[in-house]
């Protein structure tokens, strides 16, 4: 009780015991937690209004059942997965290349120090980045399969469109962080705007550019493994087909292949980024 009488503004009357927080901070913290818990409980109730708890209670048995069906993975299915795996790698790689090609101009238009017009061009470029980022590649694929038909092309375009936002955002931040003195030094030699870009800005963002592109490639490998679920080609198609016919040992094999691919791509991109940086 002593500490409540202590006033932060008056150093003359100090508390007998040291406390971690002022009483007001403690009260605010307590109400913050109360509000969070109340919100959580409310959301939980709304969310589970239609939940069938019978199914949920059954979940451990279902899991055990599924596990027993999946084990052992069917290794004879492995050779059939090589072609879809190659397709998946192509979707990720070509999608990354396409996305990067589109993202570079957007990034230069969005960066404060290279944009031709802060008032008109920059907001448009930022809007492109936000739109691309807020739609997941699976949704892009869903739309593009409807437009382009099922197949690799839809997957590549979906990955490319999703990559624009990611690469564009990180790249324009890197461009904005470049050293202005180097730009000034190059312009002092009488360089034109294009030369300034080529000799002062591009060399500075080059390492960041390669790191971002590789990082995105790594993410794209992950994402392209599941694009087949909506018909956009690759190993996801096999996954969807196997799930549809309840061939669980095949599903287990596919998951193992996906896991291995993801781990290998992560390792490769980390090693190459290390070598570049």
């Amino acid at each position: 009780m002593k500490s409540t009488s202590a006033n932060a503004g008056a150093p003359a009357s100090h508390a007998d015991a040291w406390t971690f927080r002022t009483p007001r901070a403690r009260l605010a913290l307590w109400f913050g937690w109360l509000a969070l818990v109340a919100l959580f409980v409310y959301c939980w109730r709304v969310m589970n209004a239609d939940t069938m708890w019978v199914f949920v209670a059954d979940a451990p048995r279902q899991a055990a059942d599924l596990g027993s069906r999946m084990w052992p993975p069917s290794l004879t299915y492995l050779p059939e997965l090589l072609a879809p795996l190659w397709d998946t790698l192509n979707i990720a790689t070509l999608g990354t290349v396409g996305g990067v090609i589109m993202a570079v101009p957007v990034a230069f238009l969005a960066a404060r120090n290279t944009t031709p017009s802060r008032l008109w061009v920059r907001p448009v470029a930022l809007w492109v980045i936000v739109t691309s980022r807020s739609i997941n590649s699976l949704i892009w694929a869903l739309l593009l399969v409807a437009v382009l038909g099922p197949g690799l092309l839809a997957g590549v375009v979906a990955i490319a469109l999703r990559s624009i936002g990611f690469v564009g955002k990180l790249l324009y931040e890197a461009i904005e962080e470049t050293d202005a003195r180097q730009v000034e030094a190059i312009s002092a030699t009488g360089a034109s705007a294009a030369q300034r870009l080529d000799y002062a800005i591009v060399p500075q963002v080059m390492p960041a550019f390669w790191a971002i592109a590789l990082f995105r490639w790594d993410i794209n490998i992950r994402e392209s493994t599941i694009l087949g679920l909506v018909g956009a080609g690759g190993i996801g198609l096999k996954l969807q087909a196997s799930i549809n016919v309840l061939a669980w040992p095949q599903v287990a094999t596919i998951l193992l292949v996906i896991l291995a691919t993801v781990l290998v791509s992560e390792w490769v991109s980390a090693r190459v980024r290390q070598a570049i940086m």
Binding site: A59, A63, I139, L143, L259
Partner: protein, 270 residues
């Protein structure tokens, strides 16, 4: 004396920026070219189908420009409520589980075997795709937002626990030492030395994860885990591009609001 001056080069050639050895450069260029030829060769595009699709693309663009919010509004509303509640509950539970795992995965606080266990949990959670987890959880829990909630909670663990653990490992050791010098136990070190240092970052990460979870909640509905993704999938399957456009615009708007809101909140809290 004048004759002895070496001939200075009159032209400057820009040195190579990436690979300094010419042979390496050749090898890399040739292999990139070979890959592109091979990759593009394994591609067969049905141009007739693409042409046919272009009219659909036009209808789609039309749907975007004239979004139809009204005719499927009750479905959209239901999907949004599911998505938003799922996002919040999953983030809260995900953070609550991540904190102990994150502390356990910080090398400077725990013994080696706890560290390895927690890092293994993080690695498992990070390497499994949300969609794949969702497929299994839907099979276990049945269709609906509960499966989505479980998926997002699981995915949040890998993200938050890893970044929290890295942040704890980078915390200033001098503060830890100072608190330890007062005779504090493990819990007191955690409370008085570590927690004040990592709290702003943890709050920032949680808000960021809230944002990611909402975005993901729009996707996992495609495999039956509830949320706005299910509504979107249905709208596209029914060729109702007006409704699909409306849903996508709502998702983009909420993501933008969340992004600006969370960056504002983070700045306010730090």
């Amino acid at each position: 004396m004048n004759e002895a001056t070496p001939a200075y080069p009159t032209h400057w050639r820009r040195p190579a920026r990436m690979l300094h050895d010419r042979r390496w450069r050749w090898l890399v260029q040739a292999s990139v070219l070979a890959y592109l030829v091979l990759a593009l060769g394994s591609f067969d595009v049905e141009w007739a189908r693409v042409m046919e699709g272009l009219s659909r693309a036009q209808r789609f663009a039309h749907g975007f420009l004239q979004p139809d919010f009204t005719s499927r509004w009750s479905d959209i509303r239901q999907g949004l409520i599911e998505s938003l509640t799922m996002t919040l509950t999953a983030t809260v539970v995900g953070v609550a589980i991540s904190v102990p795992i994150g502390i356990g995965a910080a090398r400077n606080l725990v013994s080696a075997w706890i560290y390895r266990c927690c890092r293994a949990i993080i690695a498992v959670s990070r390497s499994l795709q949300e969609i794949i987890v969702a497929i299994f959880l839907v099979a276990m829990f049945g269709f609906g937002p509960l499966a989505g909630f479980a998926t997002l909670s699981f995915a949040s663990i890998g993200f938050i626990a890893k970044l929290l653990a890295d942040d704890i490992e980078e915390a200033d050791p001098r503060q830890v030492e100072a608190i330890r010098a007062t005779g504090a136990g493990w819990w007191q070190v955690l409370h008085y030395a570590i927690q004040p240092q990592v709290m702003p970052r943890l709050i920032g990460l949680s808000l960021y994860r809230l944002d990611i979870n909402f975005r993901e909640s729009a996707v996992i509905g495609i495999v039956g885990a509830g949320g706005i993704g299910a509504t979107l999938n249905t709208a596209i399957d029914r060729y109702e591009y007006g409704s699909a456009g409306a849903i996508l615009l709502i998702v983009i708007a909420i993501v933008m609001v969340a992004e600006y809101g969370s960056s504002y909140l983070r700045r306010f809290l730090q």
